[in-house]
Structures are given as structure tokens and as C-alpha cells.
Symmetry: C2
Subunit: 441 residues, 2 copies
Amino acid sequence: MNRNAVTLQTCTTASETAAAIRSGVSTAEAEVREAKVRIAANEEQIGAWQHLNWELATRQARAIDRAGPQGALAGVPVGIKDIIDTFDQPSENGTEADRGRMADADATAVARLRAAGAVILGKTVTTECACGASRGTRNPHDLQRTPGGSSSGSAAAVAAGMVPLALGTQTAGSVIRPAAFCGVWAMIPSLGAVPCSGVLKLSETLDHVGAFANSPMDLALAVDAMSGDDGSDPYAMGQAPTRLVAALAGKLAPPRLAFLRGPTWGEMEPECAARYEQLADRLGAAPRDMGDEFADIVDAHQTVMFAEIGHNMWPLMVRAGPLLSGMMRGRLVKGRNIGADDYLYMRARIYAMRMKFADVMSDYDAAITAPTPGEAPLGLESTGSRLLTLAWTTLGVPAVNVPGMTGPHGLPLGVQVVGRRGDDASVLRAAAWLGQTLAGM
Amino acid sequence: MNRNAVTLQTCTTASETAAAIRSGVSTAEAEVREAKVRIAANEEQIGAWQHLNWELATRQARAIDRAGPQGALAGVPVGIKDIIDTFDQPSENGTEADRGRMADADATAVARLRAAGAVILGKTVTTECACGASRGTRNPHDLQRTPGGSSSGSAAAVAAGMVPLALGTQTAGSVIRPAAFCGVWAMIPSLGAVPCSGVLKLSETLDHVGAFANSPMDLALAVDAMSGDDGSDPYAMGQAPTRLVAALAGKLAPPRLAFLRGPTWGEMEPECAARYEQLADRLGAAPRDMGDEFADIVDAHQTVMFAEIGHNMWPLMVRAGPLLSGMMRGRLVKGRNIGADDYLYMRARIYAMRMKFADVMSDYDAAITAPTPGEAPLGLESTGSRLLTLAWTTLGVPAVNVPGMTGPHGLPLGVQVVGRRGDDASVLRAAAWLGQTLAGM
């Protein structure tokens, strides 16, 4: 074991926890108590939590126990990234500018988790507004390394066994990257599948809500619970709820799997690149060349994201500029100076690439690729490169991180599984199959 | 009869024409021949057509007759607005800059009409690029008046009985306004229902393809044929084809009808406003106040539309600026100078208003409102005010013009029927019911 690692706690999965409570083997209140012990064991070293409220959590749990557990997640303790609103605990968006901020209402994602019986334990650390400076959370596998970001606390909390389930958001790589660095399962469903109402708006063209967990079934439970048009997020209009739990039922057949190096493969650390090439070979995943159509995807992402962030966050700049980091202020000014003409050109490019990607995937159920250039880098200043997740986020396609590989330093490497937009079921099935296959290798 | 009017020709509806051909009473070739006679009668005075090719039309018709009529529109002669691409006739976009331009392929809407058996007669006059200067088409009911625009030729051709069906496009009011001025049926389905692939792109947030005809059933046939995801227009992604023909089957029950004055009612000519108020009263349509949420809808529309037009048409400006009108050049420069920050603010406002409008309509099947401030104005310079159609276009909701009222000068006034986005069936049913009701008044 890495001498810089903490002792990871053992935490049953969300499905197992809910089943234990339903069958009377455990109670929601007992699960809160145990989560408290697991968090206390490592929180000082890791710093995954922005806010915890044991009294509130216990009261939620008692209400569930008293009423009898209902809902697929009844009694499961969950962590919520701090840019996702909760009505009963602060939502501080990772910035001093919002210290103590109480939202009027739960985000749709949180309200729906509560409706499914989840116990909202607390808020997890995010980088500054999920697009600025890193805020000190450490990787449970090596305290000298970043857990990745911006959903740093959620990834670290699940990796350390503190909670079986936590929410994150991704606009470039903020769910899949930390999941890969921390060695946990995570999923962002197709763009729009989970409404972003009540989530700090960075970039409406790119924002996704996602989840971290210890099994594909837990991801299915969480995404199914959160998904579908809420009558409030225009980008989720007309979206039907996902049916991922049903998609995982039965024996998983080997998927028709492509190997996509993608437009940013040049960023890979060579030694890690070779591991993915070998994996593709062993799985029989055919390398699929994406052609020239996606060559400007990084530029397109950056232009659209920064223009939208510059617009959406300018009121924050006006209200509290001096409380933001220099990095953040610089990004906002840069974004706000982008012209509509450049913005519209790149948005049209993104939409064209989204259409084109359906062709790329036409003969496959899903594709595997790398989620990061390599293992989590040393240091807490940077949360690592987002260049390997950025293309798939831009395309709005479902993405899953499957843990189970290790890198040259013995730290986690993930496998990213992506697929067609709207075909979340095939992607999660392929990921679950891959998880079983990696375990047997 | 107005002494400035032409003698309107008699033209059977598209449904009747197709039925006559199917039953052997007529042939596609005979229908082309008769269309030629009807067009020859008035085209010199009206100027509805940009391009006609009788040889091509006759060959299309003979092929249909030889193979046996197939498809719901088999043998029906159709006019296509000149900004909608056709592979076999020029698509000149209403500008000298594109004189003689031959598109590589049919627009999706045209290809689908052909697949349904329609005979593409020719291209109808549009204003300059559908957003610039008027181009001389006259109103068949009064040659000194505009037919409206930008789909001037399609509206006038159907009104004069030249063809039973013609296509138009609408970004502000370019289908519903000319239909109202010319006294014909027209529909724009929900935003995205008909793909815009192969149509000159003005403003992707607002562009709709629509149709002009002489009955609601003909609109249903055309829209059903053209609608549904084509794998090419990102704004039509995931859209199922409409089923409007089915929606019109059986006896039409009175709809739950609201009367919406809308945010621009102040633009109405008082004498005409009174006629709509009276109509609402007689129909028992309850006035529905939309509240303050839509107060900035004109500003939002103008900012988003001009920014997108400025971006999308800038290559045309660079290539052929001197061939564009001063009005058009001015609009492009103005649009291109809009900042992404203003653009994004107004786009978010539009999306918020789209969500909100579902609440406005929650207790109603459809709503009636005015499509124009009054009758077609005198002169050909302007195509009239688009302020009464603009709000509904911005909301992306289905809209139908129902002819049958007349104004103070004995010229056509339309009734605009709108409803919930995606609920094209309820809107067209309500419009069809209203058409029957107006005929009985």
C-alpha cells in the first residue's frame, strides 16, 4: 500500500444499503451513524466535505425509519457537490462570495433523490464555482495527489468509503476525471437527461449532472431517480426518464465495442496510452478512426464554455470580484469578451459534431477510451488535465468511468465508456460488462 | 370585387387532387397542365414565381403516372420558397448574389414532399434572403398591396389558386403574416418538427419550415410528410414525425379556447382589434392574461435573431456585399456587433419564456389571437408588421392562420391559432374547428 494513502473504509453499495434497510437488517439511522464513523476516520486528511449536519441527517433518517423505507434509495446516505442547491444546508458554490448562502429550494436532482428516500448527509467540496481554483481536497489513494476536480469532494468521499453515493457535475471533465483519479464508478448521462435546475449554471450547452458510486447498479439507481423533464430546465424539455436499472437486468452479453483514441490522444502519457491499447486488444475492441470532423473540438468547447461562463457568472464578478481567484477573474473577463459571431460559429461546429458522432458509433454499442492522460498528478494546485474527457462532454454523450486498472505508480486508472447520445442504457451495460471483465483479468 | 384584384383561379385542394389522380379521374400530367393555365392567367400581374420549369414538372408528373400514384401527395403540384433548396431547379435565395445557384441536393422538406409524390413545379419569390428587401410580388386581392413576406410568392400563389400547396419559412412572421394578408391557410409546426436542412439558415433558434394551403387537411398532409428527425438538423434531433392527418379524423369537438392578446396587442389597428375581441366573445374564448413574464419578448427576439443572422450571413456579406440591399447590409453589421453576453442573456430569456408558456396554456387546447395588426398595407416596399407573429415564433409553438374574416376594406383578415409546443395536433384541430365555425357565422 502507498504510504501516503489513508485506510479506505468499507462501505456497502447503495443497493445493498437500501436492501438491508428494507429487510430490517439495518435502519436509515444506523446508516447515518456508520457514515459518521467512516467520515471521521479520514476527513481530516482528505477534506472531502464542505458542510455536514449530523442532526439534520439523523432527523431525515428517523423519518424514513418511522414511515417505513420507501423508494429505491430509502435510507442511503448521499453527498451533494456544493454547487448543487439543497434547501436545508448551505450551498456555497466553492467561493467565499457565497459563504453561508442558503438556497430557496432543492435542485431537481436533490429533490428527486430525497423522493427516492436518500438521506442528504452534506455538501462536498468543489473547486471555486466548479471552474476556478482548486480547494485542497486530497486523493485518498495518495494524499500528495489531487483527487481531480471540480467534483473533488464527491469523488474522494466515495473513494474513501465515506458514502456509497455522491453527486457531481461536469462541463469539461469534472465527474469522469476525478472518478478515474480516485478509482470509483461514475456516470454522466446524456446531456439533458438530468435537469440542471438548481445547479450553479456554468455553460448551458455543456453542463451535465452526474453521480459517483461503487457499482454500475448504484449509478443506474441514482440516474433513473434524477432523470426526466422537470418543467423547469429548458435543456431537459421533453426528456423521458432513463430506465437504467432495467437495462442492467439479466446476464450482460459482450457489447460491440469500439476503441476510440479520440481527438486528444496526443495528450496521453505514453506508458498509460500503451495500457489502453493493450486493453483494447485483449477486449477485441476495434480501433475506430473519427476522421477530421472533430479536429477543432477543443477550440469549440473552450469558446462556447468560456463565453457562457463569462455571461452566466458576470453578476458574481460584479457583486464579489475581489473574493474570486485571479484565475477565475481572468477566465470571466476572457469569456465575456467573446463576440456572438465567434460563439455562434463554434456552437454550430459543436452541433455538427454531435450529429456526426452518431455515424461514428453506428456499428457499435459503446466505445472505450482513456478518461485522463494518466494517474492523478502530484500536488493539489491543479486538478489535472481535462483534455481526455472534454470531447465526449462536448458531444453530450453518456460517459461512464469504470475503475479497475492501475497505472505505473500503482494508482487508479479508469476506463471511460462512451456511446450514442440518448443511448445511456447501452453505455452503462457495456460499462458493467467491462467491470466484470476487468475483475476477471 | 376590388377593382385592383385579379380573378382568382379555382384550384382543388391537395387532398382532392391526389384523390382524383388515385382514382383515375385525373393524372399528374393533367394537373401540371392545369396549373400552367392557372399560373399563366395571373402571374404577370402578381409575380409569385422566381423560377418555373414546365419540362421538368411534366417529366416528374409522367413518372408518377407511369409508376402509378403512390404517396399521400402523389401528383400534387407544389411551389417551393426560393430559400429552400431543390436539386433540379435554381435556389437563388432572393438575392443577385446567388443568381443561378444550383444546390447539391434537395432540402429535407422538399425531398420528403417528393417522396410523398408531390410534383415540384418551381420556386416562389422570397424577400431578399428572407430577411432583407421586398421583391415586388403583389397581393392577389389588391395588386396595390403587399402579399406580406418573406414567403411572398408562396402565399400569393396559393391565394390566386395557382397551386394547392406551397412551402414557406418563418423566423419572425414570414409564413403566418402573408397567409393572413392573402387569405389562405398556413401552418408553422412546433420548432424543430420539420428539419431545416437545406434551407438558408437565418437564425437557428427561430427558423421554422411551414406550408400554405387551402384547407387544414392539406396542411396536415404536408407537415406529416415533412416532419421528423432527419439525422442532419441538430434542432430536429429526436423529433418524431407529426400525426396531424390522424388528428383531424372524425368530428371536431369544440376546443377549450383561450383568447391571447399577447405582448404586442398595442400594435393593433383599433378597428381590427375590435373584430378579434368580438370574435373571442362569440366563440366563448376566455381572455388569458400572460402576465409580465413576456414583456421583453420583442427585444429578446430581435437580439437573438440579428446576432444569428449576422453570424450566419457574414460569409455572404464578404462574398457579395455590394449585391445586397443597404437594409440588409445594415442588419448584418448590426447583428455581427452584438456581444455573446447580450446574446446569451436574451437566449436564456427566450428559453425561460418557452417554459413559462406551457403554464399559460395549461387549461386550454389552443388560443386565438391576431396574426397581423390589420389588413395588408398599401405599397410593395414593406411587407407589413411582423409584431403580431413574433412572440409565437419566439416561443417555438405551433401556429396556424385560419382565413375567413374580412377587414374594413373588404380584404382578408386571418385568425392565428397557437398552442403548446409539441401539441401541433390540438392546435390544428382547433384551427380546423374554427374554420368550420367561421364559415357558419
